[in-house]
């Protein structure tokens, strides 16, 4: 029996209408990513990496072609269904961490649980996840601005993981960190991959890309190597 891919892009194009003419960010991309893969997306600036991440993260929809996440055609989902899929199935890790500045580290991790279960976390899950990425209780009471870059990224990973998503989308997760901290973060991501998460990583750094088991290279909106 053929295994259904967790992510399928079928002839996906994304065109942005500009005053100077249409700009094709993704040009007829077809790609399958199976559950449990560790994929690195590489390519120069403007190659379409971020656009592809936005499509897979269903923050955006393709202009043409079809995108399937966990077997569901994204184009046929309502806005609310897409929101729920972002909440439950996808975990985001951003280069700039993007933690909510008004919340403490703990509350940032608890936040997706509240979105999902509509109540405060009483199970201790947020604490446990923070602990697993090396953030203790004292640190978790701090606001993001009171934490170092490495600590913020750890909190961001904990937030991405807390709802146990199938897909982890990491957009340059080490881009704002020093080399040593960057490798520590990559070790965490490898650990998650080994536990069965599907990890998709966007990076410029070939050394970081080496952590992935599959590398896809984009150029001018097309896949040139997979």
């Amino acid at each position: 029996m053929t295994e259904i891919p967790l992510i399928r892009l079928a002839d996906v194009s994304k065109v942005y209408p500009l005053e100077s003419g249409d700009f094709t960010a993704l040009n007829h991309i077809s790609l399958d990513i199976m559950e449990g893969e560790f994929v690195a997306l590489m390519g120069p600036s403007g190659s379409g990496k971020s656009t592809m991440m936005n499509q897979i993260g269903i923050l955006d929809v393709p202009t043409t072609g079809e995108l399937y996440i966990a077997g569901k055609n994204v184009a046929r989902m309502t806005k609310l269904e897409r929101t729920h899929m972002r909440r439950d199935t996808i975990g985001y890790i951003f280069q700039k961490f993007y933690l909510i500045p008004l919340l403490t580290a703990y509350e940032n991790v608890e936040y997706p649980l509240i979105l999902k279960y509509k109540k405060r976390d009483t199970t201790g899950k947020a604490d446990a996840i923070l602990n697993s990425v090396g953030i203790d209780r004292v640190m978790s009471a701090h606001r993001p601005t009171q934490l170092s870059g490495g600590q913020q990224q750890r909190v961001a990973i904990a937030r991405a993981l807390v709802n146990d998503p199938k897909i982890l989308l990491c957009d340059e997760p080490t881009g704002n960190l020093d080399r040593k901290t960057g490798y520590q973060i990559m070790e965490i991501l490898v650990g998650l991959y080994e536990k069965g998460k599907t990890v998709i990583l966007v990076t410029h750094d070939p050394k970081i890309a080496e952590y992935a088991k599959r590398t896809i290279t984009l150029e001018d909106g097309r896949i040139v190597e997979s």
Binding site: T83, R86, Y98, L99, I100, Y111, I114, L115, R120
Partner: protein, 403 residues
């Protein structure tokens, strides 16, 4: 446990405390304006109503209707006199129906002397049994003997009148040939009464004494009809009008309905209250603009945060709720401070403008404080609607990219 969106809103307000407080001051001013103006208007209405409510169940009949008749109307023989005639009184009694009290009243203004002090006031001529039907004595007894008199509260206090005091009626002329009455009772204060019997600065004597000294027997200055059931006052008025004023183009008597006069005055005051409330509402409109501005600033400053919230799975409704909570907090802050200020300022304004705060804490007056607070809060929420909608409809990718 509190809603995390409420927590986010509280923290946002705290983070921009000064700006939020300044926006709330607009609401405070609006709430104070609406509450104070509303209370002032209501207190005025209540005071006037109270002053005029004595005699609200009374029809006041005078014969001066001809003066208000249509142009060209002629004065018939029965109404050329200065008062209500015996025949007219009989017709009034016949048409007023049973159970209602008919009180013929003589009235004249006079000078008088009490001890060595001269004064001026009104003299009423009443039948002793009519006195008790609409006047209340604060001291003494009712008229009994021919020379007995009752005095109103103003005369009693100004001239230090006691039971047994003697009053010379008429202009002082050096000799003491003027008629004398003996005070047997003091009438309770009535204020400005809508039954046109203002006894505070008056002396009430018996009808016989009055006609003996002033003449004009059976020429009553006015006749009051006190109806037993106030709901029938219009019917009684119509019946008397039909019986006595047979020709509507040439009415011989004028019937004044105290309740309609009262409602006309209160309606005027109510219009005035609405007008001053509208002026108060303008300040709330200004406050609404200020809240809208602060909310838009809050949205614009938090674009990236909104992008984060939306990208990690926050529903649009939840983002909207967060900003509406913020507007609600500003409204509650402004409303509560405004409510407290309204209590103090409203009390002072009512005291200064009306001279009495007797009605201030009555429900119909004090209700303006919670009403003003609620209006202030609602205005805040309405002002927050568009900013909240705008935040929830942002494109998460664009929002995340913003710096």
């Amino acid at each position: 446990m509190r809603d995390i969106f409420f927590d986010l809103s509280v923290r946002s307000v705290r983070l921009n405390f000064l700006r939020s407080m300044l926006a709330s001051i607009g609401i405070v001013i609006g709430v104070v304006a609406i509450s104070s103006m509303g209370m002032l208007g209501t207190n005025m209405q209540l005071q006037v109503k109270d002053q005029l409510s004595t005699g609200a169940d009374t029809l006041v009949i005078t014969n001066d209707a001809v003066r208000f008749g249509p142009p060209g109307s002629t004065i018939d023989s029965s109404s050329t006199s200065t008062g209500i005639t015996k025949t007219q009184l009989l017709k009034i009694k016949q048409s007023a129906g049973t159970g209602n009290t008919i009180i013929p009243i003589y009235r004249s203004s006079t000078e008088f002397t009490l001890g060595s002090v001269n004064g001026r006031g009104t003299v009423y001529g009443l039948a002793p049994n009519d006195v008790t039907s609409f006047l209340t004595l604060s001291n003494g007894t009712n008229l009994d003997g021919m020379n007995d008199a009752l005095v109103g509260s103003t005369i009693a206090s100004n001239f230090n009148v006691k039971i047994g005091s003697r009053i010379h009626i008429g202009k002082a002329n050096g000799s003491e040939t003027r008629p004398v009455v003996r005070v047997v009772g003091i009438i309770e204060e009535r204020g400005t009464s809508s039954d046109n019997v203002n006894t505070d600065n008056a002396i009430v004597v018996s009808r016989d004494w009055y006609t003996d000294h002033y003449g004009g027997e059976d020429q009553y200055t006015q006749v009051n009809v006190i109806v037993k059931d106030i709901d029938t006052i219009s019917e009684v008025k119509t019946a008397i009008d039909a019986k006595v004023n047979k020709d509507p183009d040439s009415p011989v008597i004028r019937i004044q309905d105290a309740s309609s006069r009262l409602s006309s005055i209160t309606s005027t005051l109510s219009t005035m209250t609405t007008f001053i409330l509208a002026i108060g509402a303008i300040s709330l409109l200004v406050a609404a603009t200020s809240i809208f501005n602060v909310m838009m600033m809050s949205v614009n400053e938090r674009v990236q945060e909104i992008g984060i919230l939306l990208s990690i799975g926050t529903e649009q409704g939840e983002v909207r709720r967060m900003f509406l909570y913020e507007a609600l907090i500003l409204g509650i802050l402004g409303g509560c401070i405004g409510g407290i200020c309204s209590l103090v300022i409203g009390y002072s304004v009512v005291g200064a403008m009306i001279g009495s705060t007797a009605y201030f804490f009555l429900p119909e007056s004090i209700i303006y404080i919670p009403a003003g607070m609620i209006i202030g809060i609602v205005v805040c929420i309405i002002s927050g609607l568009y900013p909240a909608w705008r935040a929830s409809n942002m494109d998460p990718i664009d929002a995340l990219r913003s710096e």
